[in-house]
Amino acid sequence: MILTALTFLPLAAGVLVALLGRDRQAFGRNIAFAASLLALALAAAVWAMFDHGTGGLQFVENHPWVPALGMEYNLGVDGLSVLMILLSALIVPFALLASWKIEKDPKLFFSLTLFLESGLFGVFTAQNFLHWFLFWELSLIPAFFLIRIWGGPRRTSAAAQFFIYTMVGSIAMLAAFLAMYALADASQRTFDFARLAELARGAHGHASHPALATVIFFGVFLGLAVKVPLVPFHTWQPAAYAEAPTGTTMILTAAMSKMGVYGFLRVLWPIFPEQIQQWRGPLLVLAAATIVLPAAAAFAQKDLKRMVAYSSINHLGYCLLGIFAAARLAGGAPGWANEQAAALNGVIVQMFNHGLTAAALFYFVGLIEQRGGGRGLDDFGGLRRPAPVFCGLMGIALFASLGLPGLNGFPGEFLIFKGALHLAAETAVISTLGLLLTAIFLLTILQRVFSGPLPAKWSGWPDLTLGERCIVAPVMALIFALGLFPQLLTGVANPAVMQMLRFF
């Protein structure tokens, strides 16, 4: 029941806030924030009660929904899900605080954000495709309106692009799942992830039609790849991230992009092991491209937010590198199982940590924009003198992002590369280029914005206020804590990873 409560709490609160009168904006905002904190508490409770020792699903709730259609209300979490729930629950209050000062209809903004949160929880807990898809799409609508209504000057096209791209992917994925459903024998038809995986392992259902299974695989792949996004399906992302209001961008990058990676692990990995194997080469190329090309593209950007957006693509590329690298039959060298486990653990750790750091980075970029009225890379300089705390904290976030050991960005990337260097050496080597480029352009930001001559007009640049410091303090704490004690994450993730490796 706790998962159901978690899923529907933000939804209910969102509806409540939306129904409040127009003159009760502040009250609505408070309610929304309180609800997000409550959700965080529930998520923490799930994490606390979660049995770290086992890899299977816990807190399972399973009720028939539409039996004729194989639709079930099937909830459950494993380590991966728990971390994603926790991440989402952490980011939403952070994002709400970042959006506290929104002027245009804040009540609606907050309620949409809560809908979005509900969608996230639903996706990260659902174990039946239709149930999962319901929330997958549910998260899209509020995100769309958040961009469309509160976004920057080019929000119209950004929102439409975001929506259409994602929907095309979703439809492809839906069609693929329907095909799987239709291909199975009447008695075996199901939308349940675990049972689909069993069908795949037993070479039943879709797995017995190799040619069609490839088509289906790419249908699902497309849906997930757009969401992550993976090069070359990423073109919607910089615009959407750049135009979205800060709070929304934080959720988009921290949690929604994880929906895609989560899908790779939860859906693609167990249900299409054959196909991943078969197409591993091209997929690795895509992963490498996702790491290197956006990093290079970030150089060309003059807009801080777009730079961070590109860096976000790049960081998710590592996750995919880890996944595709690990997707290699264990029959080879004896040590591979360990490397695979390392890579997948790295992926999960990276997902969580990138969520935190990217959200923090966007928060800081938002603050810069709010103070400076713009976010051009070359518009600033020397800000460390008037705003040392600002500079220091954002610097920490930047360093965490580029993977400085001791900060949270490091363990994930380290584990991924540790695994990948063994499992897919060439790709991993090429991908290190991405590491290098990321480091360079993140440092460029640091240098251009915070050092150098201080333009006269910025001499009165206000440092972080107390409130802002309080907002970032928990995140900063986590950045250090998770950098120093990555086992906080791997401890939860590892059983789930072991479970996943059974498919290979």
Binding site: A68, W136, I164, A175, L178, A182
Partner: protein
């Protein structure tokens, strides 16, 4: 109980015809009460049928000799499929009255014709004697003409005439097929269940099927016979567009399923692929044309063609799941299209007096008419087939069915869905959200959304949401009906 849906509608229509005076108020209330009573009868009838054990088969509602000379009987009966559509009719009827609350000219006549149309529609869904079915089918045509020709807007006389002639040509084709079937069977009966038992020769089925099917499918908006739909929808007054898209198009699909497919399974098998192709073309074509329309209502009009394509595709899958999806899609599209037309015609057009998207966009109507905007957003989400709404469950099953028998069609239909998302999004943004940086143009004073409008919108919204989240509610009626003896020939012929 169910038969009263028909009688109440016709009696109320007659009462309205004879009512003295031109005061709109009693006319409105009479119509609303009649529509509500019809809905209540439909719901009670459904419950009644559910309590009877074998409600999958046709359960008699009324059965009496009528024209002995030709063996024609007044035979009404319902199975799950008809019940679902009767329920849809009841919902659409109530919502239509609510959205016509502002009709001031010749109110009495408007509602009289409206209820006559509703009565005819109920009749079609409940008839099993094919002669009777045909009678009701034609009864429904004429009120449509007048509703559009008298109370319509853009090019109303053209739209009305086109609609009437298309419908009539379609029904003429049906008539030829029915008479031929009657004669060939030689059993001196028009009873569907009796005729379905007769093994019609294959050669006969091959032509009779396509004649009857297309005759019905014209009304369902089968491409390329769909052209009446957009013009008719645009010309019609709000309630009439709602009914046209909501239930009248379903008459066609229902007839195609109940009559053409049930009577001529061999013919069905012969033409299955051809019609599936037409259905898919309709899906994609309707969506693409909707993408470039400048008239708000044309977008919804073409979207109806596209969505009805799913119904026809679902029928052509000849799988249980596909047919379930088709019937569910009939229901779903009836509700959603009704909702969208209500927003376009009643909430927006009646207030702004324009449907030109280029003129609507600068008005930034989401500020002016927030309720309309929210309704339309949810309606669009439902129309796109987002999960949680009825359209999703329906189209999902159609696609799943198509994967089993016509995989290529499934892929193309998925493309159609994507185009559908694109035009829905486009029209949503253009109609309600101003372009970036455009200062909202001064707009005519818009009266706020009235109570009847809110009630109607909520009725339809909750219907699509409830069915979206709990499709079992309707599927428990549909599924057993598909397994009834009447439908058995379909599966046999359809088995590869």
């Amino acid at each position: 109980m169910l038969a009263w849906t028909i009688y109440i509608s016709f009696i109320a229509a007659a009462v309205l015809m004879l009512m003295p005076g031109d005061n709109p108020r009693p006319a409105r209330w009479t119509a609303l009460l009649a529509a509500l009573a019809g809905l209540a009868c439909a719901v009670l009838g459904m419950i009644e049928c559910k309590q009877q054990a074998g409600f999958g088969a046709l359960a008699d509602v009324a059965n009496a000799p009528w024209i002995a000379e030709l063996g024609i009987r007044y035979h009404l009966a319902a199975d799950g499929i008809s019940l679902v559509l009767v329920l849809l009719t009841g919902l659409a009827a109530v919502a239509g009255v609510l959205f016509s609350w502002n009709i001031e000219t010749r109110t009495r006549e408007f509602f009289a014709l409206y209820l006559a149309l509703i009565g005819g529609v109920y009749g079609v869904f409940l008839s099993v004697d094919l002669f009777l079915l045909f009678v009701f089918y034609e009864i429904a045509i004429i009120p449509k003409y007048f509703l559009i020709a008298i109370w319509g807007s853009t090019r109303r006389e053209y739209g009305a005439m086109k609609l009437a002639l298309y419908s009539f040509v379609g029904s003429a084709m049906v008539l030829v097929g029915l008479i031929a079937a009657y004669v060939v069977a030689g059993a001196k009966t028009f009873d569907l269940a009796e005729l379905a038992k007769f093994p019609f020769p294959a050669a006969f089925q091959n032509w009779a099927f396509i004649v009857v099917f297309v005759g019905f499918a014209i009304l369902a908006g089968l491409w390329p016979f769909h052209t009446w739909a957009p013009t008719g929808h645009v010309a019609a007054p709000t309630a009439a567009s709602m009914l046209l898209a909501g239930v009248v198009m379903k008459l066609g699909a229902y007839g195609a399923l109940r009559v053409a497919m049930t009577l001529f399974p061999i013919g069905l098998h012969t033409w299955q692929n051809t019609i599936a192709v037409l259905a898919v073309v309709g899906i994609v074509y309707g969506a693409l044309v909707a993408l470039v329309q400048q008239d708000f209502k044309f977008v919804i009009g073409y979207s109806s063609v596209s969505h009805m394509g799913f119904v026809l595709l679902g029928l052509m899958t000849l799988t249980q799941i596909g047919l379930t999806g088709a019937v569910l899609q009939m229901f779903s599209h009836g509700i959603i299209a009704g909702l969208l037309f209500a927003v376009v015609g009643r909430m927006v057009y009646d207030r702004t007096h324009t449907r030109d998207l280029a003129k609507l966009q600068p008005m930034n109507l989401n500020h002016v008419l927030p309720f309309a905007a929210v309704t339309f957003v949810v309606g669009c989400a439902a129309s796109m087939g987002l999960p949680g709404f009825s359209g999703f469950v329906a189209e999902l099953q159609v696609l799943a069915g198509a994967w089993q028998t016509l995989p290529a069609a499934a892929v193309l239909a998925a493309v159609g869905i994507i185009a559908g998302i694109a035009y829905t999004l486009r029209v949503l943004l253009k109609a309600f959200y101003a372009e970036d940086g455009v200062v909202a143009a001064p707009h005519p004073h818009c009266p706020p959304i009235s109570l009847p409008e809110r009630a109607g919108a909520l009725l339809l919204l909750s219907a699509t949401l409830v069915i979206g989240l709990w499709p079992q509610l309707l599927m428990q009626f549909i599924t057993p009906s598909l397994n009834s003896p009447l439908m058995q020939p379909l599966w046999k012929a359809g088995a590869p």
